[in-house]
């Protein structure tokens, strides 16, 4: 369903992603984990056609992303890093836009919008302009846009960041059920516990390369320990000016 072969992306002298290859069959929930700047968002952009790779190929739902971008776009839902919202449209207008562009009948789009807004606890913000929404509301609106059309694969860049715990749980359960329905899901996250719960495949990324990849059952230790061991260790620093009496 998603197949990446020897993906490389360079920005000048800097290699953001180096020879990334992986396969995610139908119904897979593939979670990409790594620190900021590891190349996660660059990977999502290359998988969704937002960024052309320097070399390598991506096949999504049987279509070469770079050779047939339009056909690919019809089959995938994306939550991009910058959320891809227009400040001048309300949340509801964004969903109406998605429905009409993907060719859904108006009543179907409206029904799905209502269900998604209710599911994501976004009904109160349906008439709010995107530019006036909080970050969490904008993230939910962008996620709802990804879920509205009939798509076969979802690409979600940090879907749980800035989301309240209850909605996080809702999204987690939703992704698990979508996976059971055959939707392939590729997501990035910093929340290791969530990744461990929903992933059928985990990839740890460090400096543009995959440091470890496998099923959760193949983890040699806890995901957190493996992450700290392979990707990065925490830094210790004392800010001694804090807590001292003011002069």
């Amino acid at each position: 369903m998603i197949s990446a072969r020897q993906l490389v992306r360079r920005f000048g002298d800097h290699t953001a992603v180096h020879e990334l290859s992986f396969e995610a069959p139908r119904g897979e929930v593939c979670v990409l984990i790594g620190p900021n700047g590891a190349g996660k968002s660059t990977t999502v952009k290359m998988l969704t056609g937002l960024l052309a790779p320097t070399s390598g190929t991506v096949i999504v739902c049987g279509t070469d992303v770079n050779a047939n971008p339009l056909e690919t776009k019809r089959k995938i839902g994306v939550l991009p890093e910058n959320l891809g919202l227009f400040g001048a449209l309300t949340v509801e207008e964004h969903l109406a836009l998605t429905g009409s562009v993907y060719g859904l009948p108006r009543h179907v789009a409206r029904d799905r919008s209502d269900r998604l807004l209710s599911l994501l606890d976004l009904e109160h913000g349906r008439n709010t302009l995107a530019e006036n929404c909080s970050h969490g509301m904008r993230k939910k609106a962008s996620l709802a846009m990804a879920l509205l059309p009939d798509v076969q694969a979802l690409f979600l860049d940090e879907p749980f960041e800035a989301i309240d715990p209850v909605t996080s749980r809702t999204i987690r359960d939703l992704l698990v059920s979508l996976s059971a329905q055959g939707v392939t899901i590729f997501l990035t996250s910093h929340i290791l516990s969530l990744a461990e719960q929903i992933a059928t495949k985990i990839m740890l990324m460090r400096e543009g390369q995959v440091a470890w990849a496998g099923k959760p059952s193949q983890l040699p230790t806890s995901l957190e320990d493996l992450y700290l061991d392979l990707v990065e260790a925490p830094k210790a620093e004392t800010l001694d000016w804090l807590g001292s009496p003011q002069s």
Partner: protein, 340 residues
């Protein structure tokens, strides 16, 4: 005192940055029109210069404190007295005031500058009072009502219409056409020949906004366009439809044929800069485009096409439509290449 001085210093820096970076009027077709009118005598440009200057100063008449995020302002350790001093002192650091104050030193402009200064300060105080009474959501950004549009691209056209309505050029064009429409129905012997000229000029006034069709979308909007399963010509076509819709509304009682012909040409020429050099535009400011090359081309070609279609042969609209369609396909293809 040091706290207040630090905040006032920051406000002064913000205002100065706004003045020094806002060159929009210098790259706007309106400047060409003022030059055109100026060739008929100095008297002819007084009215448009006052209108443009008034609009520009009004748009800049926002209290500089509004640029500081409200929550940030609230978390700073300032007393009630400090806040009053900032409110009163900030009024004098407004970009419009900074532009007008030096004019007080010029004897011949002293009276005009004085009146404008009073206007700008009153505007800031009134805006502060009104804004304090508005609910938070409305204060954050007053929404421009636009109707829902039919069709697959309807919501995009609605969004593009709303974005266009946040540029001053469009409102100048509206005011210009409204004046002409009132003249048509109230003058004892209106001059019908003028309608085609005015309709074509309306297309030129809006022409700079046709050079920056992606000016309000930002990086996030560009990403969304990349993700939507649309061809480049459809993306550009939705923007063109919104632009033509606004132009048609203004000129419907003047000379719609001239407006459509001139508008199609202005859009076709404007695609070049919209795709090759997309620039972000500020809301409630004049749009900033290329004046000497594209602005001049838009002005001459649009006025020529508009007058030809209205006075000689209306079939010229079809030729303009063909020119627009070719531009749409060529630059739509370029947009697709740029989008990946």
């Amino acid at each position: 005192m040091a706290r207040i001085a630090a905040v006032l210093g920051t406000l002064l820096r913000l205002s100065w940055r706004e003045i020094s970076t806002d060159h929009s009027i210098a790259g706007n077709n309106l400047l060409l029109i003022v030059f055109l009118l100026g060739s008929g005598g100095t008297q002819a440009i007084v009215f448009p210069v006052v209108v443009l200057g008034g609009l520009f100063l009004t748009a800049m008449s926002v209290h500089p404190l509004s640029k500081v995020p409200t929550d940030r302002l609230r978390t700073w350790p300032l007393t009630a007295g400090d806040r009053v001093v900032l409110q009163v002192g900030g009024v004098w650091l407004n970009p419009a005031v900074l532009i007008l104050l030096p004019l007080l030193l010029v004897a011949s402009l002293r009276l005009l500058a004085g009146y404008l200064l009073i206007g700008v300060i009153s505007l800031q105080l009134a805006a502060g009072l009104i804004s304090g009474r508005l609910p938070h959501e409305e204060r954050a950004g007053l929404r421009i009502w636009t109707p829902s549009m039919p069709g697959r691209l309807g919501e995009l056209i609605r969004k593009d219409t709303r974005q266009l309505l946040s540029y001053l050029d469009v409102w100048v064009s509206f005011a210009f056409c409204l004046g002409a429409t009132i003249y048509r129905f109230t003058a004892e012997a209106p001059e019908p020949e003028a309608y085609a000229v005015i309709s074509s000029l309306a297309a030129v006034i809006m022409g700079t906004s046709a050079q920056c069709l992606f000016g309000s979308d930002g990086a996030a909007g560009f990403t969304r366009y990349q993700l939507l399963p649309l061809r480049g010509w459809q993306v550009l076509g939705a923007k063109g439809a919104a632009w033509l819709l606004l132009l048609s509304l203004q000129t419907v009682l003047l000379s719609p044929i001239a407006a459509i012909a001139a508008g199609l040409v202005a859009l076709a020429v404007g695609h070049h800069r919209s795709i090759r050099q997309p620039l972000m535009q500020k809301r409630w400011r004049f749009t900033n485009g290329s004046l000497l090359m594209l602005g001049l081309a838009q002005t001459t070609l649009s006025i020529g096409a508009g007058l030809f279609a209205a006075r000689i042969n209306p079939v010229a609209v079809l030729a303009c439509a063909l020119f627009y369609a070719i531009s749409l396909v060529v630059y739509g293809h370029r947009w697709e290449r740029r989008a990946t």
